[in-house]
Every structure is written in structure tokens, then in C-alpha cells.
Subunit: 243 residues, 2 copies
């Protein structure tokens, strides 16, 4: 979509609702507009027009998942347990791993997607694939050829973190085991950091402060909570002063 | 022991074998001499004399243990699982946690020792107590009022590491859980670092490189291996190119 006319044509072909996105520089919901009716086209064009755009069908997904995977110089691929992600206002809020209620088929499909992409792209290092689960099917939404926010839980929640394995991969060292250690949830701190005492009073909680200046919508840190079961994790998450 | 005569008197009173130590600055076996017979006194005095010394009875221990504990500003105390330590040439080589074959009584005694010391000293932060196990009894050998080499396994092997809990303590934040996650072994890299590929090919192994210049007897890094059982840990340790 390079012009107002292109946008009209694309909306006709795809139908609405659809999502208009910039082709470069978008993140955390920035550079996106949802077109629900034809009346939204003008406002979306005013907001985003002038840079190269793309129009995509809006997918009415059941939930968002992501798969983190890593590939070594020798072509070895390893995947971490599938992650369930909750976004709000276009920004990732909570990642949970392993994603609850995932069938073996879905889990294997996600690993096949990540593995095929890593191999086809001849990528070395970590790759994150954001997925929509729609009626039991997986649709790839976005690729991040790097360590990813939805993999931060691996620091405490996996045998080897995404950061350690990325470094192992690019240094041509053997990859570490990507299995989970218990169950984990990662909660982003957006715009403000929570009271550290309240967070750290929760059993299994770890606070990561990025040392950034607070600004609305900015990711300033995250909290990871580990537990031995989903029920224990839910109980601990319920104590958290941020959501 | 401040003079050659003091040394003679002290050796007479304690009996031999005994250990002559400098009162300040000793570490990794430096500033120590073992006196097995009266013939060793001259050499030991030549090597160490001239600074304040102390003579101690040599304890024929069954094994060396250590207990890592942390105390918060509010007086809360938490202990990590008891550690078994193997030294060679006065330098710590391997720490294993939880220490195998420890009775509940021994474990509780170690925690009582650490807890009493922390409270009596009004210490805030991590304290390590090195212990000799002698015929089922524990004797305190040395105190380290800080994070300690025998606690490095806690980075991967405990819910909260000694480093995180030390920072939490001195910042008056709630202490994190000190329970172990599986079983762990920490192996020091002395004088040289092992080949990273060989280390990282071992499942559950993590290599810590301190970025120091190699020198004989210098601790340049450590390897931590985690596992689900003592047998699995033994099998993984057997693959390690350093000991």
C-alpha cells in the first residue's frame, strides 16, 4: 500500500476488518491502525500515509502464543516450551510458559514452524515466532530474529536462558538444554516500576529493573515468577501489584 | 603467636599436628603451614614469622561442609541447603549441594550455627560458615561475612542466588526462597579455563568466565552443573574435562 488508491483497492480485495501497518519501524502497537469499516480508511491514511504500508486481514484469534527457538552454527535446533502471551494496547503484558492447555499437536506444529524458518533462513541464534491460535490452527503473525520479550522467563524458568543460548549459538558453542524448570510467568512493567518490596515478598518472584527513565508505555522492567504447578503460579500471580 | 618462643609454647600446649596461620590476609591455603612434628617449627617460622600468627589444633575431619545463610534488615534468616566441599592444595575445587548423605540432625545443627552467628553478629547480608564434619559433629572452621565461592552454585541451583539475596538483604527488601532446584555441583577452574565446547556439551552445564588473566593457582571461572538426581549429577560430572 503506497497510496490512498492502493489502500482502497487492498481493502476491497481483503475485506474488512483489516490491519494497516507500516512496513518498517513498528513495535508495541505503534505504526498500526485497525480498519473496521470503510469510514476508518481516511483517518488511518492520515495517521500512517506517506511511508510504505501493508494491509493485512484481521485474524480473530483465540489466543496468542509464541515459540522461542535457537539454531547453532552446525544447524542444531532447540525449542523452548510454547509460551502464551497476553497483550493490552498492543503491548505484551504477560507471558506464561509452558502455555496452559496446549495439545501435543499444537506444540509440535509450533516447533515445526520455528525449525523450518530457522533452517530456511540459515539463521544462527535465537528466533521468536509470534503465533495466533485460531480454531486449533497456528498462524504465524510476526518473526523476531533475536532474543524476545516473550522469552525473558527463560532466565529463571529454563535450564538455559534465551540469552545464554544466543551467545552459545553465535560463538559456535554447543547449545544448552531448553527444557522448562517448573512453570513460569513473566509480567512486563510498563510506564512505572512496581514497589520492589511487594513484588519480592512473593515466593519465587524475581524483579528485573532495566534502569530506564520512566515514560508512558515504556517497558521499564519485568517480574518473573516461578512455581511448581499452574495452580501455585496462579496464586502467586494474584499477589502481584502489577498486571 | 607473636614470636618463636610463643610458637614453641603454643605447640607444647596444643600438641602436634597443628596449623600455623597468619591472622590477616590468608586465603586459598596461603599464609598457612601444617606442623606435623617439632622439626617443622623452624621452617614454618621462617616462612610465616614476622606477622601476627595463630596456632590451631589440626582437626582430622571426615569431610568439609559449608552453610550459606542470609539475614535481612528485619532479622529474618534463611539458609541454603548444606554444601559439601572438596579442597586440593588448600583451594576449593568442588562444591556440591545438597551435600550427599547428611542427616536431618547435621543439617539442622548447621542451620542453628549459621543462624546464631548471624543474629549474634547483627549481620545483614550473606554469611558463609565453613564446617568440619568429625564423627557426626560439626566444628566451625572459618566464617566469611559475604557471598562465598561455595555458594556460586546457587545462581542456577537455588530459587534465589546468594548474590540476589545479598542485594535484597542490604537494600532492606524481602529475602527470596533459598530452596534448591534439583542437585548441583560447582567446579572451580584454577589456573586455566577448560575448553568451552567440551564443558557446554554436558547437559545442565553452565560456564562462568571471570575474564581474569590466567596465573597458576588463580580462580579464573567456574562450571556449575545441575541435574535431577545425584546419580545423574555424577554421570555429568564424569564428563567434565576439569576436576
Amino acid at each position: 500500500v503506497d497510496s490512498r488508491t492502493d489502500l482502497e483497492d487492498a481493502a476491497d480485495r481483503l475485506g474488512l476488518p483489516a490491519v494497516l501497518k507500516t512496513r518498517h519501524g513498528g513495535y508495541d502497537g505503534r505504526g498500526q491502525a485497525v480498519l473496521r469499516t470503510a469510514a476508518h480508511l481516511d483517518a488511518a491514511w492520515s495517521a500512517l500515509g506517506g511511508v510504505p504500508l501493508i494491509l493485512e486481514e484481521l485474524v480473530p484469534f483465540d489466543r496468542e502464543l509464541s515459540v522461542l527457538a535457537v539454531r547453532g552454527v552446525d544447524g542444531t535446533v532447540a525449542c523452548w516450551p510454547l509460551v502464551e502471551n497476553q497483550h493490552r494496547d498492543g503491548i505484551l503484558r504477560v507471558s506464561r510458559a509452558p502455555a496452559p492447555h496446549v495439545s501435543a499437536e499444537t506444540s509440535e506444529a509450533a516447533q515445526r514452524i520455528a525449525s523450518a524458518l530457522l533452517t530456511d533462513l540459515d539463521h544462527v541464534g535465537v528466533l521468536a515466532v509470534e503465533l495466533f491460535e485460531v480454531g486449533g490452527r497456528l498462524l504465524a503473525n510476526e518473526l523476531a530474529p533475536r532474543v524476545h520479550n516473550s522469552g525473558h522467563w527463560t532466565i529463571e524458568g529454563a535450564v538455559t536462558s534465551q540469552f545464554e543460548n544466543h551467545v552459545r549459538a553465535v560463538l559456535a558453542l554447543p547449545l544448552g538444554e531448553t527444557g522448562g524448570r517448573g512453570v513460569s510467568a513473566m509480567v512486563n512493567c510498563i510506564g512505572a516500576l512496581p514497589d520492589a518490596s511487594s513484588v519480592l515478598a512473593i515466593t519465587g518472584a524475581h524483579l528485573h529493573d532495566y534502569g530506564k527513565e520512566p515514560r508512558p508505555g515504556r517497558k521499564l522492567g519485568h517480574v518473573t515468577i516461578i512455581a511448581d504447578s499452574d495452580a501455585e503460579l496462579d496464586a502467586r500471580l494474584a499477589q502481584l501489584p502489577v498486571r
